[in-house]
């Protein structure tokens, strides 16, 4: 769950920067941590959409956290930077990395490159389960979190949801159009690396003085590793289940 090899030192800014190159790389900046927290929160919101109704309290709290981060990033000016990155590559990387986290472990084992992107372009007739649509829409809406919120809450209003769903899909199709057919395969041949990058970003989280009191790198005993892994696995299995239902219908 945690990146190996990081030094167990308190993050206190300048002293560590004077260290070795490895030391510099090991301690993420506040902005990077904040970005990781944002990514993690968005992933959590996506994985909310399981067979059982998502926990509304948890979703609200995560969405509020996302909003807080956005507000701070808007004040910082860093939010503007992300919004202007409309190049296909950057947005697709985001699509890919969040998509891969939601792929079922079975699909990955079989080496099928069945992607949410692929199924959409073939099967989209408005009948898709909300879960996959919201997976894609939240993935593409890292830049537009307003869509995110409406997707999360409108579980009980599929009619209203279709409007947002349509918008998000348009965005996805736009970015895909810019790519030649082969490059989609190329994109997914690089999948593993981007997966591990996001994973290491997520697991490289340490709290620093800005986020709270810090006493160095946290390591948790293995039982908590299995807890988070099994959460992820059960989430993936349930998403797999949803895909099964949709395919059968």
């Amino acid at each position: 769950m945690f990146v190996r090899g990081l030094k167990r030192k308190c993050f206190d800014g300048e002293e560590d920067i004077e260290g070795t190159l490895a030391g510099i790389k090991a301690i993420p900046s506040y902005n990077l941590q904040r970005q990781s927290l944002l990514d993690m929160s968005l992933v959590k919101l996506q994985l909310c959409h399981m067979l059982v109704e998502p926990n509304l309290c948890r979703s609200v709290l995560i969405a509020n956290t996302v909003r807080q981060i956005q507000e701070e990033m808007t004040q910082d000016g860093t939010w503007q930077m992300i919004n202007t990155q409309t190049t296909g590559q950057a947005s697709l990387d985001r699509l890919v990395s969040t998509d891969i986290l939601c792929r079922s472990s079975r699909e990955q084992a079989e080496g099928k490159h069945v992607t949410s992107c692929g199924t959409f372009s073939k099967d989209f007739e408005g009948d898709q389960g909300q879960d996959i649509s919201e997976t894609m829409s939240t993935a593409s809406s890292v830049q537009t979190p307003r869509n995110l919120q409406s997707n999360v809450w409108e579980m009980e209003n599929p009619q209203e949801n279709k409007g947002n769903f349509q918008k998000s899909l348009d965005q996805i199709f736009e970015t895909l159009e810019n790519k030649s057919p082969n490059s989609v395969e190329d994109l997914f041949s690089e999948v593993d690396n981007s997966y591990y990058d996001l994973d290491s970003m997520l697991t490289g989280m340490i709290s620093n003085t800005k986020m709270g009191h810090c006493d160095g790198l946290e390591t948790f005993s293995s039982p908590t590793n299995t807890a988070s892994n099994s959460n992820c696995k059960s989430d993936l299995n349930e998403l797999d289940h949803i895909v099964e239902i949709l395919v059968e219908s």
Binding site: L37, T65, G129, F220, S221, T224, I245
Partner: protein, 453 residues
């Protein structure tokens, strides 16, 4: 810390443990609620599989004066079944979220149990006699040949092995769009409230086809939703007063006499945020997971992620007391957010009524690593204890545990990094009259008693 009569510390001893021994926990066996009845004779648990198990305390054995009666299984029944909501294509979990006992009015016992959507009133009754000697039927129920009946007799009741039957008497359904988190029986013993994430409904125990909506915080536009209801409870003495807590750390006290829809609170309890502790997780850890009135009704206790707070109903701007449950987790909030532990909902409870003096003195709540904590409001002392099968000899006094937050770990201390976050104690209950506590780990129920001298 102070117990009855003052001056003596309570020493907690292991009494019993219920549940499977093996480490492989079946999902359905995860305990989701624990509640003593009003006399303390019965102890009910609900689990994720929708079952209710009721334990009954043995009558005190006069010869064994050094221990109170043991709790043994009295009744087990399937309260809720999994359902499927076809309209939304979603499962409705059968997990029992809460059990609340009604006070006993006759020979039978009644309790309310609820899952996410439906509340049920169960009647638990004993049968220890059965009629024998029917004229027209054999003992096994077959009808006798009328020509063989030559005499008449009056059927009589004869003793039989005790049978405990549970039957659903009322089903209160279809009133909640969101997940029910609380039920609370009013002091009039005729009505009760049920609260979900956005609404609170008032029911009459006799009427199942109607309920009154008394709180509704659903915004017109769901995109504007930023706060949900997390718990609700009726005042123990005033039947028109109730409180509900929110995910933003506020508690609202409402009076049903003021309006039909109580969306304007009578009082709002909120502690201003401490700017030095502000982080992206501040709101999440301020979310209140449980609220409980004291026996007198003068105070209420709330539990948020890191602390327990005692509020005086006459003071809205801050709690009168705050107790840190596991402050050493404050620096780990990011990891706890990642593994979702930060969303764990811990409950809290008051000590039972003292035999001689009626005041709420000690509060108890759970933590991780199968630890649970008690705070004595008078002496300001606190203790950390562990629910573990390793201390499982009856009358073994529990050894206080200590977590080492930082620095050099002393012998017998456990460091924060070694805590097992899968072993969480979310549900605890205190016998209403005696110093007996029930502590639920993931799938086991521990019963501890104070050491009687």
């Amino acid at each position: 810390f102070l117990g009855a009569g003052g001056g003596n510390d309570i020493q907690w001893c292991f009494s019993q443990v219920k549940g499977a021994v093996d480490d492989d926990v079946a999902e359905a066996d995860i305990i989701s609620t624990v509640e003593f009845n009003h006399s303390g004779e019965l102890l009910a648990t609900g689990d994720k599989g929708g079952r209710v198990v009721i334990f009954q305390q043995e009558q005190e054995n006069k010869t064994q004066s050094h221990s109170r009666g043991e709790y043994n299984v009295y009744s087990t029944f399937q309260s809720h079944e999994p359902e499927f909501d076809y309209l939304k294509s979603l499962e409705i979990e059968e997990k029992i979220n809460k059990i609340r006992w009604l006070p006993q009015k006759n020979a039978a016992q009644f309790l309310l149990s609820t899952n996410d959507k439906t509340i049920k009133l169960w009647k638990i009754s004993e049968r220890d006699k059965r009629p024998e000697g029917y004229n027209l039927k054999e003992e096994d129920g077959r009808y006798r040949d009328p020509t063989t009946v030559t005499t008449l007799r009056v059927p009589v009741f004869r003793p039989m092995d005790l049978m405990v039957e549970a039957s659903p008497r009322r089903i209160f359904a279809n009133a909640h769009t969101y997940h029910i988190n609380s039920i609370s029986i009013n002091s009039d013993y005729e009505t009760y409230l049920s609260a979900d994430d956005l609404r609170i409904n008032l029911w009459h125990l006799e009427i199942t086809d109607r309920s009154f909506n008394i709180v509704d915080i659903k915004p017109a536009n769901m995109e504007e939703l930023t706060e949900v209801i997390t718990a609700a409870e009726f005042h123990p003495n005033s039947c028109s007063t109730f409180v509900y807590s929110s995910s933003k750390g506020t508690i609202r006290l409402c009076d049903m006499r003021a309006a039909a829809l109580c969306d304007r609170h009578s009082k709002l309890f909120e502690e201003p945020e401490d700017p030095s502790n502000r982080s992206f997780f501040s709101e999440i850890i301020s979310s209140i997971s449980d609220v409980k009135f004291s026996h007198s009704g003068r105070y209420m206790m709330t539990r948020d992620y890191l602390s327990v707070k005692i509020w005086d109903l006459n003071m809205e701007n801050r709690p009168v007391e705050t107790y840190q449950v596991h402050e050493y987790l404050r620096s780990k909030l990011c990891s706890l957010y990642e593994n979702d532990c930060i969303f764990d909902k811990f409950e809290c409870c008051w000590n039972g009524l003292d035999r001689q003096v009626e005041f709420s003195v000690i509060v108890m709540t759970g933590s991780y690593n199968n630890f649970f904590r008690m705070f004595d409001r008078n002496s300001k002392r606190d203790v950390t204890l562990e629910a573990s099968r390793e201390n499982n000899k009856p009358r073994t006094v529990l050894k206080p545990r200590k977590v080492c937050a930082s620095g050099k770990r002393k012998k017998d201390e456990i460091s924060v990094d070694s805590l097992d976050f899968n072993k969480k104690i979310l549900h605890t209950a205190w016998h209403p009259k005696e110093n007996i506590i029930a502590v639920a780990t993931t799938n086991n129920l521990y019963i501890f008693q104070d050491k009687m001298n």
